[in-house]
């Protein structure tokens, strides 16, 4: 792997998550998570379902206030900043549970993003950016005139990526971007990620496709029960006994290929678990189950 560290030349890392704690009622979803994502690199955030990955994303993007800890973005503390201000500073994200604008066409989804990015001027007259080129770049031109609620899941994830790119972000937070893509599409997607990183953008990605994660990430952080249990290059992560324990439930010397293969298994588990989680609930199982217990005793009596 080439060394992409410090491409931007800044001293501070692009994104620093500093001892972040998130508690829902009595349950700790994220526990003292500390990690960085550098500009010009692809960073993976992996872990079993319910480990707190999406909650981490929500904290970073501002949708969830952390109980404790700090988030620094481009050298500035943004922990208390509202969602839109972080975006203005160059943060873009996609969602595990899709948030495409269903009533708009795919092209209009991206156009809206561009208009919002341009601020007040964007609300008055249309921008000049070549929207179709963006659609071409992520490979969804064929769907440009479809309503966004009628396209396949994988395509909608790519649409969310295109929508982010319309705002030219410095940091991309991608929440399971490859689920719903077939093998060829996933390969193309990996190449796109490398391209985006080569432009100097930082990419932080939650992903269950281990082949993709191991193939494109420069650094990987592993979350389990809300804590970072390992950080390092893909090779190191593969060999880490703690990671193997977290993924497979036992620690004794698992051959490397089995962990890689386990990615598929984990994805399958993820699918079933996701089905259990109802529409409208937060996407991490940990955020759902405690919420029931959390609200009951004090709130309704």
């Amino acid at each position: 792997m080439p060394d992409h560290q410090h491409v931007a030349g800044a001293d501070a890392p692009l994104l620093e998550v500093d001892h972040v704690v998130v508690q829902f009622g009595g349950v700790t979803a994220v526990n003292e998570a500390t990690f960085v994502a550098e500009a010009g690199t692809v960073t993976g955030l992996i872990g079993p379902n319910g480990a707190g990955k999406t909650t981490c994303f929500n904290v970073i993007s501002g949708l969830q206030k952390p109980t404790r800890g700090k988030v620094r973005f481009r050298g500035r503390n943004v922990t208390g900043a509202p969602v839109h201000r972080r975006s203005k500073r160059g943060m873009g994200r996609t969602f595990q549970r899709l948030e495409a604008f269903g009533s708009l066409s795919v092209r209009d989804n991206v156009r809206v993003a561009h208009d919002i990015h341009r601020g007040l001027a964007g609300l008055v007259r249309p921008g000049a950016k070549d929207i179709d080129a963006l659609l071409e770049r992520v490979g969804i031109s064929a769907y440009a005139d479809e309503r966004a609620d009628s396209i396949p899941t994988g395509t909608a994830r790519l649409l969310e990526l295109a929508r982010c790119l319309a705002g030219d972000p410095k940091l991309l937070l991608l929440d399971e971007p490859s689920s719903g893509l077939d093998e060829t599409e996933t390969d193309d997607f990996g190449d796109l990620l490398r391209d985006l990183a080569a432009e100097g953008r930082g990419i932080l990605m939650v992903e269950h496709d281990m082949d993709l994660v191991m193939g494109v990430c420069d650094t990987i952080h592993v979350l389990d029960f809300g804590s970072i249990i390992a950080s390092g290059a893909p090779g190191e992560i593969r060999r880490d006994p703690a990671v193997q324990r977290a993924y497979l439930g036992y620690s004794d010397e698992v051959p490397e290929h089995e962990l890689a293969g386990a990615g598929v298994g984990v994805s399958a588990v993820e699918e079933t678990r996701t089905d259990l989680v109802p529409v409208g609930a937060a996407s991490d199982a940990t955020t759902v189950i405690p919420a029931v217990g959390a609200t009951t005793p004090e709130d309704v009596r």
Binding site: H84, N109, R301
Partner: protein, 663 residues
């Protein structure tokens, strides 16, 4: 000192009744996520049923109570949950609000129809008994009410904490689907909580009816007090709800006792609950953006600009023909009124149809515009637009305190605002005055006063058409796209960099400004206006008619305006069924509320089918004119334009074959 005690006891009594009703509201909201605006209306109807049993039919008091609280109210609650509000909690807040507003209006209409206005009294329980507490006489009814409220609190505590079904109720608060997975029955839980909720509303209504009388509106609007109390508990906590209810009861009682009974402050006595509600909402913590809720909405199709201009012109010609055809002044005034309502509904198209927010006091904003126009005494374009700008500013001010909140709370703050304006501002000396009116001059354009009613109505129609076209232009542009995007996914808009708080304030302001412009024009039309022209309550049928006719299209608003104008006409022509008309409107909105595209969209569908099916057949039957083959296409196009397709008819599907809903 003795007055302090007696007013405290009076306050505790009303507070206890509020607490009973409010706990029912909290129960239904927490378990089903449907905020029942009609909660008080159910209490009102049940109080009438109780009167009917115990007074008119002379049934035994306890039997009547049992029938109402133990049989009828729970059955209605169960039925409403099963057949009306089921599944509403998961949809957009605006739909649930419209449906329960429909119930609200429908129940008032029903009560008026079944029990026509006549003096009725419900005697208090154990009317002749009471206790002498020092200088203060406490009636048995007051003691019974306070005791019952304590009993309700205890019963709810035991139900929720000590029984299996209660545990299931608490579990379904957060996650009905998860409850289902663990073997619970969310539907049973929801139905049960609605049965209990409506029963509690009935109990609250019955206890209060002997004090404030059997009145359709007073009992119904009492629910605002329950809202306020429930809001203190953030619609979740029953103990805080009880605290809120008692505090509000005492506050209200003290306001009556110690605030001056004349002057400006006298008005505040009537609006203590609304003020309380407003303050509690403003103090609510920041709402977090919810994710994972996205649903695209199939909206009424957008017409091309040429077509809009064409239909707008047709409307103008129609009105001109009516004016030129020697229509009576009375009828011309009705046409002008319809245009006013249509413009107010256009402001709802922007706010609700495009933006997904609900205002329960849109007519009040029209009143602000009318008041400003009359007070400015500048009957010209400058005065008109200044009046609209003032209304816009007031609208932005209403949205400002609830900047951080969304949906339900924004709607409730408009409700509190409507009540405040009704009871305090509009009646004040500096406004219309108590039961007073103001004079307003007819508009003059560039120095030419439009004195004739016909000419004025034509100008109003012109404003309506221009407003409609402007709205469609806005919808087609970047701003319209952002509005739709925000309705579909606020969370995504936030992460794309949109500061939705100010955007929402701007949207609210713009919408209020449109309503204000309509109100100002209406003031000029009528010449004399008063607070009665803009009563808060009338905003609710306005909202309902807008939704029934289609709040996503300009056509829907135009038709809705005509409908709202006809409503009182129909009622005065058929006084026997005045209530029934309201009931039909309300329950019709309940049936149609789930589709905001309304009747207008059905008409568009019909128009499209006409073009697709009837037109080719018609063409086949037409004899081919010799030598006219070449001009055939042109003729067809003309024919298509002549067909009765309404304003918002879409362009024929474009070459890609997509429905141009997002054009």
């Amino acid at each position: 000192m003795s007055s302090l005690i007696s007013f405290t006891i009076l306050g505790l009594f009303t507070g206890a009744a509020y607490a009973i009703a409010a706990s029912g509201l909290v129960l239904t909201y927490t378990t089903t996520r449907v905020f029942n605006i009609a909660h008080g209306a159910f209490g009102m109807v049940m109080a009438f049923v109780f009167w009917d049993f115990s007074q008119r039919q002379g049934l035994n008091l306890f039997l009547s109570l049992f029938l109402v609280l133990g049989v009828i109210a729970p059955a209605i609650g169960w039925g409403i949950q099963r057949f009306v509000t089921k599944g509403l909690g998961e949809g957009p807040v605006s739909v649930a609000l419209v449906v329960t507003v429909g119930l609200f209006v429908g129940l008032i209409g029903l009560a008026q129809q079944v029990w026509p206005p006549e003096p009725r009294t419900v005697p208090p329980f154990m009317a002749s008994s009471g206790v002498q507490l020092g200088d203060t006489y406490v009636t048995a009814h007051q003691i019974i009410t306070i005791v019952i409220s304590i009993g309700v609190a205890l019963a709810l505590y035991v139900l929720l904490n000590r029984t299996r079904i209660g545990t299931a109720m608490r579990a379904s608060v957060d996650n009905p689907e998860l409850l289902r997975l663990f073997g619970g029955k969310p539907d049973t839980v929801a139905a049960l909580s609605w049965a209990i909720g409506i029963s509690l509303a009935a109990l609250g209504g019955i206890l209060l009816s002997s004090v404030i009388g059997l009145s359709y509106y007073d009992l119904t609007l009492l629910v605002i007090n329950a809202y306020a109390a429930a809001m203190l508990g953030r619609l979740k906590s029953l103990p805080l709800t009880f605290v809120g209810a008692m505090g509000l009861g005492i506050l209200q009682s003290f306001a009556v006792a110690y605030l001056p009974s004349d002057g400006f402050l006298a008005g505040t006595r009537a609006v203590v609950p609304a003020l309380f509600l407003f303050v509690v909402i403003v103090a609510m913590p920041q709402a977090q953006l919810r994710i994972g809720q996205v649903k695209g909405i199939v909206s009424a199709p957008l017409p091309s600009i040429t077509k809009s201009v064409g239909w707008g012109g047709a409307l103008l010609v129609l009105v001109a023909l009516l004016v030129g055809g020697g229509m009576s002044t009375a009828n011309l005034l009705l046409v002008g009124t319809a245009a006013t309502y249509a413009m107010v509904m256009l402001s709802l198209v922007l706010l609700t149809g495009y933006g997904g927010h609900v205002s329960l006091a849109q007519l009040t904003f029209a009143g602000v515009g009318a008041l400003a126009y009359a007070k400015l005494e500048q009957p010209n374009l400058a005065g008109l637009f200044l009046a609209a700008a003032i209304a816009a500013g007031v609208g932005a001010l209403v949205a400002l305190p609830v900047l951080r909140l969304t949906g339900l709370y924004l709607a409730l703050s408009t409700l509190a605002f409507g009540v405040l304006m009704d009871k305090m501002i509009f009646q004040a000396e500096f406004a219309f005055g108590f039961n007073g009116t103001l004079q307003a001059g007819r508009l003059s354009v560039l120095g030419n006063a439009i004195e004739s009613t016909g000419g004025y109505v034509l100008v109003m129609t012109l404003f309506l058409v221009l407003m409609g076209i402007a709205l469609l232009l806005l919808r087609r542009g970047p701003l319209g796209r952002v509005l739709i995007a925000m309705r579909d996914s606020p969370a995504a808009c936030g992460t794309l960099g949109l500061d939705m708080r100010w955007f929402r304030v701007g949207l609210f302001g713009l919408s209020a400004g449109m309503a204000g412009l309509a109100g100002a024009l209406f003031a000029g039309l009528r010449g004399t206006i008063g607070a009665a022209d803009f009563q808060f309550f009338n905003s609710l049928p306005l909202l309902l008619l807008a939704v029934v006719f289609g709040v996503t299209s300009v056509t829907g608003a135009t038709l809705g305006g005509v409908g709202l104008m006809l409503l009182p006409v129909m009622q005065s022509n058929n006084p026997g069924i005045a209530g029934l008309i309201f009931a039909i409107l309300g329950f019709g909105a309940v049936a149609l509320g789930r589709d905001p595209n309304g009747l207008a969209n059905l008409m568009f569908g019909l128009g499209r089918r006409l073009q697709a099916v009837v037109l080719p057949q018609l063409r086949d039957k037409l004899p081919v004119l010799p030598g006219s083959r070449g001009s055939d296409d042109g003729e067809d196009a003309d024919l298509a334009d002549l067909l009765p397709t309404p304003l918002d008819t879409p362009q024929p599907p474009d070459s890609t074959g997509k429905v141009p809903a997002h054009a």
